[in-house]
């Protein structure tokens, strides 16, 4: 246990050292502290994985966080198979991205600050995955959100960056609103917020209904959906996906680490972690599956037409996250986590390659101004190509195995919407390949379309950046090999490993069906690649003509279905309008202040009338007084 404490607290120490000493003392050397800390965490995390593979899990409290009556919660750690995998994903990605950042952020005036935030993020993410209770999970959850806010708004003097950071935080708060209520419901139901007793007792509440805000609802569905609200926000699912594309305002390593590999997958982790609760509610699972499927389709269509290289990858992330939820929704939690794990590598790699491209293009993000970069930056090109092959689901690459497992379990699983989401998933697989290779072809092939100055500047990135790319590339190719299905002669080790935590999904289908599903998805992937090749390399006029032909559709996609505008119109502006015109203008000024100021004013007006009695003549007062005496005397004596 004590060793494992190092996993989260080394990055925390690095954060504290950097934030306190970085500005005046460490300066350009700040990265050493953070890298050493995360490397230390990685080593211990590997040890933890080895331990869990040997079947040793840990669930211990560090100290009592707070106690109020029967509400008790501690800071404590749970390390089981799921946590161990997450630890590996988080520390590996984090470490490689830390190293990459040394080159990427070189010369930035906030160098120490950047590494401090990265360390803080790593700490929070590790606290999130290692928590043994919901409240600590919530702590990590909000903590990573905060770091995301800091890092998106890293270039805070840019309005768009600070806007994006704020948007990410607030949109996430909407999700956390449900998540927080979910935790409260869990406490009220089970009397505790620790995972172990909650999951152990969950079965006993399977058929309870509860009165929630006047409606009788199924208890487990309610809890599951409330928790899922948090997942929707954090993992940028519809309808709370709007923050993630904007989050690309942050430095690219941040997009890779937080908005691709780790933080955004926390939502999937939450659903997987709470699988004992979700499994008790068919409705909740169906909602999860459909949300995932619809989001993945929706984001993939947007990704087709965007021109900002990072935004395409961001929509791709949303889409792939949808995939993971799709998996969880059909009960295939381990497949979802498997995809999370492979996705972390190839998506981080995609982002880092995009960062490398940006580095070469001096910050240019527009695809239409690139082209032919492969001869200038071969390492970047090859690694990015491999990552794209992986995401497109080309057999042998990591993405193929995880995606295939999801599709197969969706098709064969017991879920009532399984066939539907399988269909959507296959379409998305096609779209994924299409937009991924659109990106590759437009960036690296063809002729350079930017300015001469940019062309002159083109160069491969330094070693400190390319080495992490190569290492991640290994992950993007090989990370899937731990989960090769039985069908292909593998041992499905990943699923087996996760079994104690996530259970084993039962798919019932024949081998031929399984082959068919696999074939369909492979065909979809290859046809996507082929279409991209045809459209963007051979006949570059087709996309333009298509856009002109279906200008309405194109415009909707280009504007991301106008969701941002919809929210602005529906929530943001009315709220401010109400505040300004009704609450300040009417309630406070016209009603409350009118009453408050009106009473003294009325008294003042009355005084204006009766002050006339005060003539200032002594004898008038005396006469009035005497009259009073007369009345008293009359009353008393003539009674």
């Amino acid at each position: 246990m004590n060793n494992y404490l190092l996993i989260p607290f080394l990055p925390l120490a690095a954060f504290l050292i950097n934030i306190l000493l970085g500005r005046n003392f460490l300066k350009e050397k700040a990265h050493w502290v953070s890298i050493l800390a995360v490397a230390g965490s990685w080593v211990v995390a590997v040890m933890a994985l080895v331990d869990t593979m040997a079947g040793k899990t840990i669930n211990e409290d560090l100290y009592s966080w707070f106690v109020s009556g029967n509400f008790k919660v501690s800071v404590g750690f749970l390390i089981d198979q799921l946590t161990a995998v997450m630890l590996i994903v988080v520390t590996t990605c984090s470490m490689l991205i830390h190293i990459y950042s040394v080159g990427y952020m070189h010369g930035d005036k906030g160098f120490y600050r950047f590494f401090a935030y990265l360390s803080l993020f790593t700490f929070c993410m590790l606290m999130l995955v290692m928590a043994n209770n919901f409240l600590q999970l919530y702590f990590g959850w909000e903590g990573v959100g905060l770091c995301s806010y800091f890092l998106i708004g890293y270039y805070f003097d840019k309005k768009s960056a600070s806007d994006a950071g704020k948007k990410a935080f607030i949109v996430n708060r909407f999700g956390d609103f449900g998540f927080g209520l979910g935790i409260i419901m869990i406490f009220l139901t089970f009397g505790t917020v620790y995972y172990e007793p909650v999951f152990a007792q969950a079965g006993g509440f399977a058929n309870h209904t509860v009165n929630f805000l006047g409606y009788d609802v199924h208890l487990m569905t309610l809890i599951a959906l409330l928790l899922f609200c948090g997942s929707i926000g954090k993992s940028a699912q519809m309808p709370l996906h709007v923050w993630l594309p904007d989050a690309m305002e942050g430095p690219t390593p941040v997009s890779a680490l937080i908005h691709a590999a780790t933080m955004v997958t926390a939502g999937v982790f939450l659903v997987a972690r709470c699988s004992p609760i979700f499994s008790l509610s068919e409705t909740a699972l169906m909602v999860v599956a459909l949300t995932g499927a619809i989001t993945s389709l929706f984001a993939a269509t947007i990704g087709l037409v965007q021109n900002d290289i990072k935004r395409i990858i961001a929509y791709s992330t949303i889409s792939q996250l949808g995939y993971m939820f799709l998996a969880c929704g059909v009960g295939a939690y381990s497949a979802g986590v498997f995809h999370l794990y492979t996705h972390a590598f190839f998506k981080a790699l995609l982002f880092l390659c995009a960062g490398s491209v940006m580095h070469a293009m001096a910050g240019e993000l527009n695809l239409q101004k690139m082209g032919g970069l492969k001869k200038y930056m071969p390492v970047t090109y090859i690694t990015m190509l491999l990552a794209s092959l992986s995401i497109a689901g080309v057999p042998g690459f990591a993405g193929f195995f995880s995606k295939d497992e999801i599709l197969w379990l969706a098709y064969s699983g017991p879920s009532p919407v399984g066939k539907l989401v399988w269909g959507i998933g296959t379409v998305v697989a096609f779209l994924t390949a299409l937009y991924s290779f659109r990106l590759i072809f437009l960036t690296f092939h063809g002729k350079f379309r930017g300015t001469h100055e940019q062309e002159h500047h083109l160069h491969e990135s330094p070693k400190v950046m390319t080495i992490p790319l190569i290492l991640l590339c290994v992950g993007a190719i090989a990370s899937g090999w731990v989960g090769i299905p039985h069908l292909l002669g593998g041992g499905a080790h990943f699923t087996e490993f996760m079994k104690p935590v996530l259970g084993h999904p039962e798919g019932h289908g024949t081998h031929s069906e399984e082959w068919m599903v696999m074939a369909v998805s492979v065909i979809a992937g290859f046809s996507g690649i082929g279409l991209a090749y045809f459209m963007y390399l051979k006949r570059a006029d087709i996309p333009v003509r298509l856009a002109a032909r279906f200008s309405a559709v194109h415009k909707i996609l280009l504007n991301k279905y106008y969701v941002d505008e919809f929210y602005s119109f529906l929530i943001v502006r009315p709220a401010i309008w109400i505040a300004k015109n009704i609450l300040i203008g009417i309630t406070d000024a016209k009603i409350i202040e009118a009453i408050v100021n009106g009473i003294p004013k009325a008294i003042g007006g009355f005084s204006q009338v009766i002050r006339k009695v005060q003539t200032g003549f002594l004898q008038h007062y005396a006469t009035i007084m005497a009259t009073g005496i007369l009345i008293i005397v009359a009353i008393m004596l003539l009674r």
């Binding site: 200032g616 005396a622 005497a626």
Partner: protein, 100 residues
């Protein structure tokens, strides 16, 4: 024997004449004298009660009233002098500083 009621009526008449003077005269000195008149009216009834009740306390009270009247006259007249110095008038209807 003169009945007590007669004294009391006399006292009341003197008192009310004092009140009348106080309420109606312009001259502040005459108003002040009206106050003395009222005090004397009260004194008459007190002495009368003292006599008829065969109790000394009435006279003690009169004794104190005269003391206070003396003090009051001294202070009051000093105020009048100060007032006259500032306003050059002894007419109350010309003093309405307290008008609301």
């Amino acid at each position: 024997m003169v009945p007590l009621n007669w004294y009391l009526m006399l006292s009341a008449v003197v008192f009310m004449i004092g009140v009348f003077g106080f309420l109606t005269r312009k001259n502040i000195i005459i108003m002040f004298m009206s106050v003395e008149l009222m005090l004397n009216g009260v004194n008459i009834s007190l002495i009368a009660f003292s006599h008829y009740l065969q109790d000394m306390r009435g006279q003690i009270l009169v004794f104190f009233i005269i003391t206070v009247a003396a003090a009051e006259a001294a202070i009051g007249l000093a105020i009048i002098i100060a007032l006259f110095r500032n306003k050059s008038t002894a007419h109350v209807d010309e003093m309405n500083e307290m008008k609301g």
